[in-house]
Amino acid sequence: MVSPLYIIAVGLGAAFLLGLLPEKWQRAAYGVTLLALALMGWIAGSWLWAFALQGAAPVEIFTAGTQPPFAINFRVGLAEASLALLMALTGLHAALYMRDTLFKQGRRAMAVLLIFVMATCGVIFTRDLFNLFVFMELVVISTGGLVLLSADRRALGAGLKYLIVSQLVSILMLVGMVFAYHATGTLNIDGMAAAQVDLFKGGALAFFLMLMAVLAELKPFPANGWGLDIYESAHPAFAALFSAATGAATVYAADKLLLIGGAQWLPLASAIGIVTFVVANIFALVQDNDRRLLGYSSIAQVGLILTVIGQRDLLGEQYYFVAGGILLAHAVAKAGLFWLSGLVAARGLGDWAALRGHPVLVFAFVTFIALLVGLPPFPGFYAKWELAHALAANGQLWLLGLILFGALLEAAYLFRWFGYVLKREQPQTGLLLQAIKEDVALSAVVVAWLLAYLWGELSGQGNLLQAIPLLFALLFLPLDWLPAKLKNGLAVAGLVGWFYLHYPSYDALQLIFAAVMLPGGAIILLASFQTQQRRVGFYPAAMLMFAGLAMLIEAKTSFAFFAAWELLTVGSYFLILRGKHSEPHALSYIVFSLGGAFLMLAGFALAAQGVPDFKIAALAQVAEPFAPWVFALLAIGFMTKTAAVGVHIWLPGAHAEAETDVSPLVSGILLKAGLFGLFVLLMTMGKQQLYGVELTHVMLWIGAISALIGNLLAIFQEDAKRLLAYSSIGQMGYALFGLAMMNHLGWLMALMFVINHYIYKSMLFLSVGGVAKRTGTRDMYRMGGLITLMPLSFIATMIGIIAVSGVPPLSGFGGRWIFYNAIMTAEYRLPMVIIFLAGPIAFLYLFRLIHTIFLGQLKDELRTVKEAPFWIVLPQMIFVVALLVFALVPGMALRHVDAYLAPFFGGQSGLDWAGLTITSEFGYWSPVSIMLVIGVIFATLFAWLLFVNRRAQPVKQFNIVFAGERPFRPETTHFAWNFFAPYRKALGFLTQPLVTIFWETLTELLHSAADILRRMYTGNGQTYAIHLLAFVIIVYLLWMGGL
């Protein structure tokens, strides 16, 4: 093993050597630079290899042949080695990336870069306080040099601001250090840590000053304006270095310093970290300059890591796993994003739409964002999981809440940005593609996935990258060049195959959900055979969602469950985002979904109380003070997915704007994931009381109001798919209501809704989607009279609406029947009034759907439309058959579930399935007889009428009586727009968008607060210095005053 001192020696030596080279030998100088960086990387790498794989113990490196504390010493361990490797690699990449700039600036710039990397390594290795200071100053000065490499002239100002601030920092540092030395008699970090007691006898202030100095380098709020300016104006490669390398090194310095301070200073670090994390993320919401946004994000991430450092004692052994996960994820992602920013010509966020033409770059962008947000399978995900668990287990709930809040904000602006990339108009400026830059950025992608694998291996929870569904989904990435039909076939086969292989191991409940989600998904995917192009990006996203669903059903532990949940959320987000105008809706979807997911994370963490491998089943054993909170958190999380009222506003847009075959996927299938979660939750935790309020009772109300509001809003929609989307809210409200009744039949009804809603909503979405595809609009009032042109779609819709409305003899009635039987034993009656009101309202929107699309007046421009494409009609016909079969023999699926549910409610079966009649305690129902009776009556009457009118004259659309006049034009004759005007007059007040107003106000508040507060960053370097000073004084007053 080569001593890490050689990293320093090589870096410096090469820098000095560069001075010897003649000015003309640019290539040689560049070669030396690269070689030196590679050598540094190799040394660090070899140490990492030794520590990680051979389990070597950390090594102390002495200088001057003298023991510390009398001479400076280095320490190299796993953390040091990996960070040093990170420094060297980012440095190397920066050198590669900046090749042109370096050639232009000459060997001096290369020397500065080398010294920068060397100095960051020094910061990491050294165990001597003053030496740390020296290396940090080296970092500062070389930063001052490297900032100037930017083509942006404004970098000059940014560098000066940085220098001003760093002057202040070094003053604090030196004063603090010398007094600390005075108190302890040593400059060695470990020595000082050992002499902690001495230090704090008289030297607490000294330590405080040092800590402030190091923390100031971490750009804490509000003393961070200078950092942003550097991020914004520096060369992207340097910004990457500044974010990844400087950030990581300084974080490690802070970590070392806190070692001296000991446990009592950790809360301060956490407090500063979390404030920075949240505030920087809020500020980032209003940024429209990409690099500045990345700057805010960097500051936020470093704040988060600082928070984690502050929780070092809590995390115990997991500390390096968590902090390292977040740190490396941040470093790689941020470096990658900055590198990408160098490829984008213009600086607005929307200008990144230029990436769209290059799927590989888009993939890189997605990877980085996922890495930053901490989505599975990236390290941040595992880290977030462990962190949340540690915090929850130790009662740090406020901190956990703030972390999750900040993370949500971060996800919001990052995903908003991603939406811009995919959806905004491609700018004129385009891309500045350069092979080497691209390669550098893509190498970060590789590293990201390697890290993902590594963290998966390190986590005790199982590696997500070894989960077959996920791998199957990822397989579609390299296969994306294949034609869509082939990929679709593969996807369908995969879904059916997985189900076929696994269904024997499912219990009845899992089986129902799995059947709806996997083969059910395959049926919907049949509609995708209709696309002709390659459909880049569709299959990875769709299969990611299905992978999440497949894993969700099989999840045994809370980790597996949560990971699957996030996977399906992300997959479906990408799917939804594919819609033409879905950008804002997809954003609101992902924000709400992640918000819900974070609540779930908090819930699981609270439930686990530190147990590493928490089984879902163990939710039942969660004890009293936590149980109701766990229940509430998880329930809200799941209800976000089912779009219960209050958190429903994402659904209409997301489902309506999605593509034709995506809407049924996300509506028919994805919503069921939320129901599955609720099932699992209620089966394990049962009834919970919070402050004396029965939580299931609250859910009952939420379900009822969702049903009412969903239905009510649906009747006022002009957009057919929005109508269906609102209807889903209502339907999910019913299901939620059934679940919350906490009785056998209620649950059975919810399950019935799972199946029914899947069938008819998928069918309706496909049918409406097919119509929208042919007519080129989703506004119902622009359609009309399509029945003869699209008869199959009409049949599907008609069967669908009869089923949805719950009119016998179709299967919707079964749901209503079970519902009535269920409420007979329910404890609460008032919410039922609302459900009763909601029921008939469904007729209104359903009638409107079929009337305004298929009946009424045919429009001129639609006279020649054809039936929807075969592949879109085929699944509809399958659903029609399925609906009829399910209507005739509902017992086929439900009796098993009934038996499965029995043990939860005292053992006996809820319904009697014997014979053709289904009997409950209160009533009975014989689907076959009903179907038969109605069928016979119907057929008889129909035949009779046909016979009587055998000579009837078929007439056309304007052959209607019109008070002696004739209609003007079809569009004035089709009564469709504002169809339920009287209803709006009577009950329109209930459709006040209170929830939307609430969330919009909240968003607006956050944005305006950010917009006003960020004006404190006036751009004046002096002001920034004052901020820093104020920061120190305020912390002094708050902290030392209280200490």
């Binding site: 029945i787 609406i801 009869i802 409305s805 009119v807 016998p808 029947w817 009535y820 039987n821 409420i823 007979m824 008032l830 039922m832 009034v833 009763f836 009101l837 029921g839 008939p840 007729f843 209104l844 359903l846 009638f847 009337h851 009946l855 009424g856 209160f922 009533g923 009975y924 129902w925 014989s926 007889s929 009903i930 009776v933 109605i934 009556i937 009457l941 129909f942 009428l945 046909l946 009587v948 009118n949 000579r951 009837a952 004259q953 078929p954 007439v955 052959n959 209607i960 009586v961 008070a963 209609p967 089709h974 009564f975 469709a976 169809f979 339920f980 009287p982 209803y983 007059k985 009577a986």
Partner: protein
């Protein structure tokens, strides 16, 4: 063997319905000091409509409208036992219980709406929006009342509900649960398409609304339903709230009396606009229903 009996029930009820509606109309005329229509006028009108030589059709759903409508009426009648304690006139009540009846009411409404909409006539569509809007509010108190009654008797079987009301007038739900009955009767007014809730059929504004394009045998079939459906619906009310009927004479009497309630109200009150009637149901009828449910 149920089928012939069911057909017999159907036959009796259709004839009774035709005569009774004519009779009620005649009573109304007499109140206005008119002579009124002949008692058999409904038969003649139906026959005339079947006798028309020409007819037009707007498409297949145009046929299905009346079919749905009448199927709804016939189905509703046949899924509910007509005569309590009679094996012959229990119809097909084995197929389902009260809930079936409750939801089957909508079958005809929905189908009719579909058929009328096929004609492409804006007046039909306007009539339907009015009808459906009003229905959502009108059905709510009825649903609440039904729920209250089901809770009261702890069963959803119509037969058992009737059975529970036997043994004297005071055992009727009318007296044991007056709130539910009051709510249900208000709902009944709304569902009978009589004033003040008949803006759906405004004859001159939107020439009788949904069926504006219907004529000849289509209209005849709907006339049949117009005779049948109120009776079928009243049978449900009678069974739930008024002790059912043990014999045909009792059946005839009770149906007539219940029907007269809506006729009586109808001749006294002027018309409501749709939003007015919705508010009326929500303000007056629904609270009664809620009280009924809560107090059971």
């Amino acid at each position: 063997m149920r089928i012939p009996w069911a057909l017999l029930t159907l036959f009796i009820v259709i004839n009774y319905g035709l005569l009774m509606t004519a009779l009620v109309q005649k009573i109304g005329a007499r109140v206005g000091r008119r002579h009124g229509i002949p008692i058999w006028q409904n038969y003649i009108d139906m026959l005339k409509n079947y006798a028309l030589r020409t007819s037009i059709t707007h498409g297949v759903m145009f046929y299905l409208g009346p079919v749905f409508r009448l199927s709804g009426g016939v189905g509703l009648l046949l899924f509910v036992p007509s005569i309590y304690g009679s094996e012959m006139f229990a119809n097909f009540s084995f197929a389902g219980d009260l809930i079936l009846a409750l939801y089957f009411v909508f079958f005809g409404t929905l189908g009719m709406a579909l058929g009328a909409a096929e004609s492409g006539h804006p007046y039909s569509a306007i009539g339907i929006t009015r009808g459906l809007s009003q229905m959502t509010a009108a059905e709510l108190p009825f649903a609440l009342a039904v729920f209250a009654v089901a809770l009261q008797y702890q069963t959803l079987s119509v037969t058992e509900i009737v059975a529970a009301q036997q043994g004297g007038v005071l055992h009727w739900t009318l007296f044991t649960n007056p709130l539910a009955v009051a709510a249900a009767m208000m709902s009944f007014l709304g569902s009978m398409m009589r004033p003040p809730f008949d803006v759906v059929l405004a004859p001159q504004e939107i020439p009788i609304g949904p069926p504006t394009e219907y004529h000849s045998s289509f209209l005849a079939m709907m006339q049949t339903n117009r005779a049948l459906f109120p009776v079928a619906k009243i049978v449900v009310y009678m069974n739930l709230f008024f002790g059912g009927a043990g014999s045909w004479p009792e059946f005839f009497l009770k149906v007539f009396l219940i029907y007269m309630v809506s006729a009586f109200v109808g001749v006294v009150f002027p018309r409501f606009r749709v939003e007015q009637s919705i508010r009326w149901f929500l303000i007056w009828a629904v609270p009664l229903g809620i009280l009924a449910v809560v107090l059971v």
